[in-house]
């Protein structure tokens, strides 16, 4: 009886580990993905080459997450003549390595494995009890 319970538990442990290890091995570090067939939405044109000319196009086509307030025109004697609003968006993330769904998969897999193990234990114990 005890051996049966322990065997079922070992089976459940193996199932959990087997489902979680490959998921973690996927890595959490930002791994650059080789350039695939991602449609390039970003204009490659450099921003305004002339210092006196305002930029005609934004270098990044990513919709800015941010600033709702306008840039601040500084006083004429300020060291920075126009103060931009918000933080610059200098981190274009590759769409191929999101990890948000990964944690969900890990949790779901673990829960399923545990439920399976519990069910196995229950069935074995019932059979042993009725057979005894």
């Amino acid at each position: 009886m005890r051996r049966t319970v322990l065997s079922a538990l070992a089976l459940a442990c193996t199932a959990v580990l087997a489902s979680t290890v490959p998921a973690f091995a996927d890595g959490t570090a930002p791994t650059p993905v080789p350039a695939s067939a991602k449609p390039s939405a970003e204009p490659t044109k450099a921003p305004a080459p002339a210092e006196s000319k305002p930029p005609a196009t934004a270098p990044s086509a990513e919709p800015s997450t941010a600033p709702t307030e306008a840039p601040t025109k500084a006083p004429s004697d300020a060291e920075v003549s126009v103060v931009p609003s918000g933080a610059p968006d200098t981190g274009e993330v590759s769409t191929g390595s999101q990890s948000g769904g990964g944690s969900g998969l890990i949790g779901g897999g673990a829960a399923a494995a545990v439920a399976l193990g519990g069910a196995a234990v229950y069935v074995v114990r019932r059979r042993r009890a009725t057979g005894a």
Binding site: A12, K38, P47, A66, E92
Partner: protein, 211 residues
């Protein structure tokens, strides 16, 4: 082993498994709260009392070299985006840094602002990928269009939440030649990053470029 004790054993084992599995679900979060002056890699911005180094004449930057993190990049000019934020260099394989053209040129009095990407989407890492590794005392050299170079020394590195970007600390008047290097950092959130990494540096010397 009695029946109740077996049940307790099995329950405890299952609970342990669940806890163990849940521990790694944090994804890319580094687990640290972010804010102004976060401990791990932040240090205070430069103190107002610095060395008296003579300011340079205006000359736009054409290159940037940071030996400590093996950066040697051309520098382009950046202005304002239509939404009022500062422009950033284009996302392309040949990533480079960009100087905000409404800020002083490197070596002039005031905070000269240079930006670069930490990652450039499917192209991989950006030119400022290792910016957060800079430490106080590291050297930064800005090559200028007139053939000279302005050499700066890092006085502080801060990682701050983008929602709390320290505009005044970055763009405010300082009364002496300083440099700001800016990129993104921290964990990714959605299609961007949660934090900004800002390097503060002070002019330490000037000389002929091309070193």
């Amino acid at each position: 082993m009695t029946l109740p004790s077996r049940r307790a054993f099995v329950t405890a084992a299952m609970a342990t498994l669940l806890v163990g599995c849940g521990g790694g679900g944090g994804g890319e979060s580094d687990g640290a709260a972010t804010g102004r002056g976060r401990g791990e890699d932040s240090s205070p911005p430069p103190s107002p009392a610095g060395k008296n180094v003579r300011a340079l004449a205006r000359s736009v930057p054409v290159g940037l070299r940071i030996p400590a993190i093996e950066v040697d990049t051309p520098v382009m000019r950046l202005g304002l985006a239509p939404d009022g934020s500062v422009e950033v260099p284009p996302v392309e394989a040949d990533d480079r840094a960009g100087w905000y053209r409404h800020s002083p040129t490197p070596g002039q009095v005031g905070p000269s602002v240079i930006l670069g990407h930490v990652t450039v989407g499917s192209y991989g890492e950006g030119v400022f990928r290792d910016l957060k590794r800079l430490r106080r005392g590291d050297r930064i050299e800005a090559r200028l269009a007139n053939g000279t170079a302005a050499e700066f020394t890092v006085s502080g590195v801060r990682t701050v939440a983008q929602a709390e970007f320290p505009t005044e600390d970055v763009y405010g008047d300082v009364g002496r030649p300083e440099l700001r290097l800016i990129t993104c950092g921290g964990p990714r959130s959605g299609d961007g990053y949660r934090d900004s990494v800002i390097v503060f540096a002070e002019l330490s010397s000037s000389g002929q470029g091309g070193s």
